[in-house]
Symmetry: C2
Subunit: 207 residues, 2 copies
Amino acid sequence: MARRSVAEAQQTRATIVERSVALASIEGLEGLTIGRLAGDLRMSKAGVLGHFGTKEELQLASVAEAVEVFTREVWGPAAEVAPGRARLLAIADAWLSYLERDVFPGGCFVTATAIEFDDRPGRVRDAIAAAQGRWMALLEAEARRALAQGELPRGTDPAAVAFHLNALAVGTNQARRLLHDDRAPDHAWRAMRTLLGAPRARRRHPA
Amino acid sequence: MARRSVAEAQQTRATIVERSVALASIEGLEGLTIGRLAGDLRMSKAGVLGHFGTKEELQLASVAEAVEVFTREVWGPAAEVAPGRARLLAIADAWLSYLERDVFPGGCFVTATAIEFDDRPGRVRDAIAAAQGRWMALLEAEARRALAQGELPRGTDPAAVAFHLNALAVGTNQARRLLHDDRAPDHAWRAMRTLLGAPRARRRHPA
DNA sequence: CGTTATAACGACCGATCGGTCGCCAAGTCA
DNA sequence: TGACTTGGCGACCGATCGGTCGTTATAACG
C-alpha cells in the first residue's frame, strides 16, 4: 500500500488504537505485541509502529481510548441524572450494564491493566492510576453531595462509599470473567442498592 | 556446580517455586521469564527448567504453592474458630491482614493471575479457576451454616455473601496496589462487619 | 505541472524468548 | 571400589520481540 490522505491516516490510527484496546483487554497491555496487532490488522509492524514511535506510546494511547470508552459508557448516562444519590444509582446501573455487555472483549480494560501495571513504574502506570484516582474522586464527590442532601445516613464516609462501589464492580468483573458466574451482577446490584439505601426490587435486566 | 543430594534437589525445587511465586505476583505469571528467574537465583536456565520440563509446569507449581500460602494465611487462623458467623469474621480479619502484610510482594497472587489468565484457556487457567471456585464455595458454605444457625437475617443469600466478601477483598487489593490507599482495609473491614451483622468498633491493626 | 511531505512497506537489527542437547561431577548403591 | 543415576551447566536452536532504515507511492501544495 501507499500513503493515504490525512483524514484516512487518522482513521487508520484510530482503528489501530481500537483494536489494541480490544486485544489488550484479553492479553494484557504488555502481553500484546506489535507483530500480533499488525497481523490482526493486515498491516506491517512498521506501519503500525509508525503512528506511535514506541510501544509505550501505543499503550498510552490505548489507555486514553479505554478511559474514554468507560467514561462514555458509565458516566455518560449518569451525567444527565440529578447529582447525589440518584446519580450514584444511575452510575451503578450503567457500570453493571457495561460489565454485562462485555464492552471490552476481555473484561474491564482498566481493572485488567491496573493489576498488570500496579508494580511497574512508568508513564503507563501513572496514566492508569490517574484515571482510577479521578474516577474514585468523582464517586466520592457524588457521595458527599448525596450526604449533604441528606440522602445518606449521617456519619457515612463518602470515601468508603466510593471504595465499596468500586470493590463490587471489580468483584463482578472477576466473578464473571474467571468463574463465568452470571449471578454476580445481580449480587452486586443488590449490594449497591443496599449501600445507597435504595429499594432492592427485582432488577431490570438490560436487553 | 554439580549434582546435590536428593534432599537438596527438592530444596532447590522449592526455592525455585518460592521465588517464582514472588516474581509472578509482581510481573505476572506469563510475564515472568525463565531467564529472569534463573538469573535471580544465580542458576542457569536449563538448571531451572530441568525441574519442571516446561514453563507451563512451572506455572502450575507456582499456582499450587500460592494457593497453599493463601490457605495457610487466611483459612489457617479461621479453621480454629467455631463454624458460622464467627468463622466468617475470622476469615475477614485474616484476609485483610494477609493483604496488608503484603505476603506476596506484588499483591494477592491469585487475584493478579486470575485476571491475567481469565481469557487464556489452558491448564493454568483451569487451576486458578478451580482454586477460586473452591474458595468461593467454602465461603458460601460457611455463610449457609451461619444462616442455619440464625446468625444472619432470614432470606440472606449465602452466595451473595460469598461474592460480597470476595469483592471487598479484591477491591482492597486494587486500592492498595494501584492507588496506595491505606484506608482501603479499614473500609473493607467495616463493610465486612456490616455485611455479617457484627459490631463495627474500631479495628485493631495488625502488628 | 513539479516539488515536497508522509503513510505504509519489506528487510533487517540485536536481544531475548522457551526449549533441547550433551556433558560432567557427585551422590547412591551393589 | 566401580557402575549407575541424576542435578545442574554451557552452548545452542528457531522463533519472536521492539525497533530502525531506506524505499515507494501518493496526497497536498506551489
